[in-house]
Subunit: 247 residues, 2 copies
């Protein structure tokens, strides 16, 4: 399947989303994610699936000495290079699954809403653990397993079009799901909560925070239907730290 | 609300459940729970909400030097004292919320399918942390937030009675839910995954395992409709360890 972010129609629509126009302040989960980010001062940062580079820029503006952003979409990176350029940021065009770095070459790895596009969480997790120094941080957001389990990623409606509840099904059948995002077909990979958290633990990370973010007051006030986001979790934010071998 | 486990009709029905007749081997989640239990040899064990005492007996049979089981149901404890008695086990009749012990008086605290009946997870968590020695283990199972969120704890059915999916709603509204279990009304307290895991972390525990158990082959083969248990998570198993202050 082609990368939808390189599909001009999808790209145009994505570019009009609040999170694309406003950057981090336009992302509902940003206040919760920011809270669990480590200090970036003098650190080497890797952003897996950096998109427009908002998180790279944030790291650069908060003292990072080196930032590497990886994304598989050329169109996203072209925009990133214009919009979020910085002397300390390097953008690399590569699938997240295919990129490679020397061991212990980063202090922090971040990934925002990308890992649910990737089939094997264990593979990424193993690599991130190798790329991080001991004590290094891995902080990411993904679509919540409750959100990805059934497949279509939509509410169950009454005949009159009222949102009755959020349907969960196929929870323990991990793997490919097809849904519709911005009018286009996208493929994602459902994983259970057990897979996300226990894989981290078993690969040598300590779980430091697990957050299901809720909409902030601003979003509840300004965005229509945002109160529905209180009815089911949409995202999962995790902060983990690479343990010392002796821990 | 009275304790349904002291209601004779409910008690009789509960006593006929596979997990009551067969003990641990009759509980679908037992193989997964057993995997994440620590070694009991020469340890002091506390079981919060011990019911018929099956986990107390298991600890006693696996070398525990002292086991304390706490339950709010007299009828459950009467049966426990007959059925799972041991020189090292003491049964205490008390609500889990009201029991008290000296600091650092246990090496392991377990709790099986009880903490979803309790309003404040933070209160219990704080107490368990105090009762445990540094390095001590807290291992528990609860009904999964996906299972408790909406309230009625039932599938959403088609007009012809087919299970269409599991409904999730009111996820971020924690607190009391009423559902029907064995034909009787029971009250539970829904909590989010964030509440369970982050409360543990913030109170000084390290998360060591997070498991959403799936039915074993035996249950899939022997119990009608057990395959539906693969469609949504029903339980959450957590193993946590009290950190040293210096960790």
């Amino acid at each position: 399947m082609t990368n939808q972010y390189d599909n001009p129609v999808f790209f145009e629509k994505y570019s009009q989303m609040l999170r694309s126009v406003e950057g981090l302040d336009g992302a509902g989960e940003w206040p919760a994610l920011r809270e669990i980010l480590p200090d970036f001062q003098d650190k080497r940062i890797l952003d897996l699936g950096c998109g427009f580079g908002w998180h790279c820029l944030y790291a650069a503006e908060h003292g990072a000495k080196k930032v590497v952003g990886v994304d598989s979409s050329e169109k996203m990176l072209l925009r990133a290079k214009k919009q979020t350029a910085s002397d300390v940021i390097t953008y690399i065009h590569s699938a997240v699954e295919e990129v490679s770095f020397p061991t212990e070459s980063f202090d922090v790895v971040v990934s925002s809403l990308v890992l649910h596009y990737i089939r094997s969480f264990a593979d990424i997790c193993r690599k991130v653990n190798a790329w991080l120094v001991a004590g290094g941080d891995f902080v990411f957001s993904v679509e919540h397993p409750v959100f990805t389990a059934q497949g279509p990623q939509d509410w169950f409606y009454s005949p009159k079009g009222k949102k009755l509840h959020w349907p969960v099904d196929n929870y323990f059948r991990e793997g490919k799901r097809e849904s519709c995002f911005l009018g286009e077909r996208v493929e994602k990979y459902h994983k259970t909560l057990t897979t996300y958290l226990n894989t981290l633990i078993n690969m040598g990370f300590e779980i430091r925070q697990v957050i299901e973010p809720q909409p902030t007051e601003r979003f509840l006030k300004d965005v229509p239907d945002m109160a529905d986001e209180l009815r089911r979790p949409m995202m999962l934010l995790v902060a983990a730290r690479k343990k010392n071998k002796s821990d």
